[in-house]
Symmetry: C2
Amino acid sequence: MTTPKNNTLLRALLRQPVEYTPVWLMRQAGRYLAEYNETRARAGNFLALCKNRDFATEVTMQPLARYPLDAAILFSDILTVPDAMGLGLYFSEGEGPRFERPLREENEIRALKVPDMNTDLRYVMNAVSSIRTALDNQVPLIGFSGSPFTLACYMVEGRGSSDFRQIKTMMYQRPELLHHILDINAQAVTAYLNAQIESGAQVVMIFDTWGGALSHEAYQEFSLRYMEQILSGLKREQDGARIPNVIFTKGGGLWLERIAESGCDAIGLDWTVDIGDARRRVGDKVALQGNIDPLVLFAGPETIKVETEKVLTSYGSGNGHVFNLGHGISQFTPPESVTTLVETVHSFSRQFH
Amino acid sequence: MTTPKNNTLLRALLRQPVEYTPVWLMRQAGRYLAEYNETRARAGNFLALCKNRDFATEVTMQPLARYPLDAAILFSDILTVPDAMGLGLYFSEGEGPRFERPLREENEIRALKVPDMNTDLRYVMNAVSSIRTALDNQVPLIGFSGSPFTLACYMVEGRGSSDFRQIKTMMYQRPELLHHILDINAQAVTAYLNAQIESGAQVVMIFDTWGGALSHEAYQEFSLRYMEQILSGLKREQDGARIPNVIFTKGGGLWLERIAESGCDAIGLDWTVDIGDARRRVGDKVALQGNIDPLVLFAGPETIKVETEKVLTSYGSGNGHVFNLGHGISQFTPPESVTTLVETVHSFSRQFH
């Protein structure tokens, strides 16, 4: 058991006492940092960064060198699992992720297999081990995956979508086919996150980017249910240490009571929810991670300070809060804004602990 | 006072008794109808349809000829007001609305003026009168506008956005500038909807397409507040008849209690909310309009029927429900799906009244 020197994040996720509110940022290693762009240029492209352990380690460490963040997060993509299933992940400049071979035909869907973590996804485990070595137990490392439904959206649509017409047509016309994809995805993500834990991830997070596009009822049946399947199969301990987990459904603010019953340790919140209201709704069941609007970082330091303090004050006194943005940091964010945010969280939050 | 022969919609919006639940569909005159595409081809493009009273009347009437809908809605665009302010609305194929001259400079913002309803927006009032004549009092006519915040999004961004970086930068850096735009927009929309009412609109609806992109607090300050300003200036009666209003914030399900206090008669709901929960949350204050996932119309008739019945059953017995989709109908919808939906609403809902 190797507890990080700064284990504030782990304690906050488990609702244990902390001295201040820990903070990390979704997509904290990213294009808003000049050093990231420099490494990416050397690697050639985004996927080459993910697939090479040295590059992945280098960019994971970059935000920690600039800011006193309370966690590192594995540099990777939410879509590594379907890529390993053979769908052919690629990125077209400015248009987000795409798959060369989207899943549309029943025979392709029935042929879908859980990839082998030791071969097809070995590069991710190598990156996890390498980052842990580089971190030298300073702060914990977060591993992650996309949720089964979010993976299925990209797998069926072949890309992001504004209306999710392909996957929803399948959902309403052939629900058993979609359930088949989701079950395979849930099995694969369970194995994937467990392999990350065995390789050194100390927290795991499931990103459900598109669950919020579903109706309240379909969300439970097609997204939450499969995250619950993963949670029930996740390793909760490794080498004597508890491994907390977080689930984050963007646009899921209406469903927090149900998400809190999923068996997760913490819920990620986007910025549309008042975190104080969210806390009252979920009670003592789970920790909360979030939730400032990432666009606040485009304001001046005084406004960043005020808005950060509002989130901390809304959560209020006591355990169970991890500060984060409500979504990934924008590539256009001025890096000095992050300095202001992190300093404010660390200093202003002490009164609440 | 000229009550429509079928005034079920008006009664439902005012929470008065009805014999069945009325139904209309957002974007019911649209590209899923072959006859619409034929008229549009004759007109040349979408804006030419909006700006010519005969074309606007023709397409408004088309869905009523196919389906026994309980309302007509003015064929127009949510962005006519900023177009009349001189920003130059245009549509690039497949990319949604854009403005030639987005608002970025302070001097342009300070120069913004409420357009003249009798000249700049005369074409809309002409369409309203012409449609009323064509309707011959069969069903009521709904007029509408975009909300002040939604108009401002397009005015400042110049187009739709995934992160609203321009307008949120203004919101967090120069809130007084955004408030100025929103105040002018609210004044303009008030005059615009009142002019529609005077020309014959029997219901008015405010579409707040992008309010859901805001934080809970910013939503109140930058979107809801200006819809309240409009509601307080709206004509509530015309020629002795009550003119009900509806406000619809897509993604606003978290904030229904506050929206219900705005002074509106009815709230439009997207499909992420359980309408039964929504009804419990708003109590007797307002009617509710919605809220089936528009993608349900891609299923077979049996599923459409089941899903439609679920929404009606969730709302339950009593007054105050107008059936609608949770968002505009997709251009790829099979027209026969709408037949199934409308028939199901009309027959299955009788038990609740």
